[in-house]
């Protein structure tokens, strides 16, 4: 059995609808994330991706079901689960160092001032912002602000890093650099990451597993795609990988068509408790097939 860190067990989120009754954003959602895994969730707006992340963070509570983290059911926010917010959410009246040190002081309330500063400075250096400690968020570019957000999350050494489209507000060049650094840092520290994204290429580059969510209301996890790309992939070169286009096409096809039809027309044998795990083995690992089309193999967990 894999070393399971997060286990989402049948959670649902319902809101009272305007004309009485209830709107179900998603229901019967099951997902397991192993320790050290990088999981990306993709799906259209309104499928409840952010709500799931907020439930994981403890900022929101599910209407049904439970989330188990490291063997314990979560009941609220915790320093074990750090969140990198979409809009960076830095405190504008504090400096870069002040923002990171605030998190460090929350994590280790008994630590000395020097120790807190040392930890914060180290986290700031990890994201490549050494020298900018005394600046205020307003003096930083969007990319630098997001780096501070990452430093703040990493500084508290969380078990899980939760990221809600952390790079979506950045320009393409900055986004690329930050993705690369995020991947490097997470691989070096063996960080477990749960990340939401709209960007298929971002998911392909960063994720070990890509979770596909159907459209809401009543969203489900349609399948979990295992990333077939080698672990030492480089951002500029992933499109040369023989599996890249098969994977990309699979994801795009899902977003374009299957995400809409899945709910009303689930594949035979679909079990929401065990969403099918899909491996795209068209590349080096599997024997070459006569046709170039990748073979889809559903594996129950």
């Amino acid at each position: 059995m894999e070393d399971r860190l997060i286990s989402i067990e049948g959670i649902a989120k319902r809101y009272p609808a305007a004309a009485g009754g209830q709107t179900t954003i998603f229901e019967d959602l099951w997902l397991r994330v192993g320790r050290g895994e990088f999981v990306c969730v993709i799906g259209h707006s309104g499928c409840g991706k952010t709500t799931v992340l907020n439930i994981l963070a403890g900022l929101d509570a599910p209407s049904a079901g439970a989330v188990i983290v490291d063997g314990r059911e979560i009941s609220g926010p915790s320093l074990d689960r750090a969140v990198i917010f979409q809009g960076h959410a830095l405190l504008p009246w504090k400096t870069v160092l002040g923002n990171v040190a605030y998190a460090v002081a929350s994590r280790w309330p008994k630590a000395s001032k020097a120790e807190i500063e040392a930890r914060a400075t180290r986290a700031i250096a990890t994201v490549g912002l050494a020298g900018a400690e005394g600046k205020r968020p307003a003096e930083l570019s969007g990319g630098m602000k997001q780096r501070v957000g990452i430093a703040r999350a990493l500084a508290i050494e969380p078990k899980i890093l939760l990221m809600d489209e952390p790079f979506s507000a950045l320009d393409a060049l900055t986004r690329g650099t930050l993705q690369e650094e995020a991947r490097r840092i997470c691989r070096e520290t063996g960080q477990t990451v749960y990340m939401i994204t709209h960007d298929v290429d971002e998911a392909i580059y960063l994720a070990d597993k890509i979770v596909l969510m159907t459209n809401g209301p009543g969203a489900r996890i349609a399948e979990i795609v295992v990333n077939p790309l080698p672990a030492d992939r480089r951002q500029g070169a992933i499109h040369h990988d023989p599996n890249y286009y098969a994977l990309r096409n699979h994801l795009i096809d899902f977003l374009v068509s299957r995400s809409k039809t899945f709910r009303d027309d689930p594949p035979a044998g679909y079990d929401p408790r065990h969403p099918p795990v899909v491996r795209l083995d068209g590349g080096v690992a599997a024997p070459p097939l006569p046709s170039a089309a990748p073979k889809l193999r559903a594996v129950a967990t």
Partner: protein, 279 residues
């Protein structure tokens, strides 16, 4: 603004002042001695009737009076003749006391109202009802219950400073960005630490705006309050000089009240600048 533009504005300001003073001087200067008046009668009537001199003092008269006050602002020659510095000190002390008491009440209550939707809704009718009441309307009630005119004036200042601070604090606290509160929640920050490290700095610019409005209102109200309670203070001084028909002193007081009000406002503006953060 560039230096030239600033100099230009300064020049225009000086010009306006010069024109105003000149018109004032011309307006109040005499129209020449009245003709064919019995000298005995003229003695009885005084300069206003015989020399065509206006009862309104000119800028030079006011200037002389101001100079006189400045030379000796703190003299004390009995209850009805004190230096303008002493009068101002009394007014500033009353405003300061009432205002600080209002800060002590308004900011914690504002926090409560801003953080709790229940308290917000529960206290709203009282705030809405009491806010538009002229602070001077409280004066008889204060005099009856407190039985001390000086403390009653302080109470009136307290009441009038309360509402802008209370409402602004509540608004500032209630509109702290959700994401900053979420940062505190994910970091497991306790309620007291959250109040002081997230909510207070986030709401501080709004709170200071309320405090600045309050100090302005308090300074407006103290003049009227002291006219009523009498004894000491710049408001009493104005009314006393009106009874003395000393228009020069009344004009001097108007100037001095304006200057002190401006200083109070600037102090709060400076404090506001200290807590404002760019986003």
């Amino acid at each position: 603004m560039t230096t030239t533009a600033r100099l230009q504005a300064l020049a225009v300001s000086a010009l306006i002042l010069a024109v105003f003073l000149a018109l004032w001087q011309i307006g109040v200067s005499g129209s020449g001695p009245a003709q064919e008046m019995d000298p005995e009668y003229a003695k009885l009537m005084g300069a206003t009737a015989t020399q065509g001199k206006s009862a309104m003092p000119g800028p030079l008269d006011v200037g002389r009076t101001i100079w006189g006050h400045l030379r000796d602002p703190f003299y004390d020659k009995g209850p009805n003749d004190k230096g303008i510095g002493i009068q101002l000190a009394h007014s500033v002390a009353r405003v300061g006391t009432g205002y600080l008491l209002a800060v002590l009440v308004a900011i914690p209550v504002g926090f409560l109202v801003g953080m709790s939707p229940l308290m917000s809704r529960a206290l709203d009718p009282y705030i809405q009802l009491l806010k538009p009441v002229s602070p001077l309307a409280w004066m008889p009630l204060a005099l009856y219950t407190i039985k001390d005119s000086g403390i009653s004036a302080v109470f009136v200042i307290f009441i009038c400073s309360l509402w802008p601070m209370l409402i602004n604090t509540a608004f500032g606290v209630a509109s702290v960005r959700r994401e900053w509160l979420n940062v505190a929640r994910t970091l497991e920050v306790g309620p007291l630490r959250r109040a002081f490290t997230i909510i207070l700095p986030a709401a501080a610019p709004t709170i200071l705006t309320g405090m600045r409005i309050s100090i302005g209102i308090a300074w407006l109200v103290i003049v009227a309050a002291e006219m009523l309670v009498g004894g000491t203070g710049i408001g009493y001084f104005v009314w006393n000089e009106w009874n003395n028909l000393s228009i020069t002193n009344v004009i001097t007081s108007i100037l001095v009240i304006g200057i002190v009000g401006m200083i109070l406002d600037q102090l709060l503006a400076q404090a506001q600048r200290l807590v404002t953060f760019p986003e």
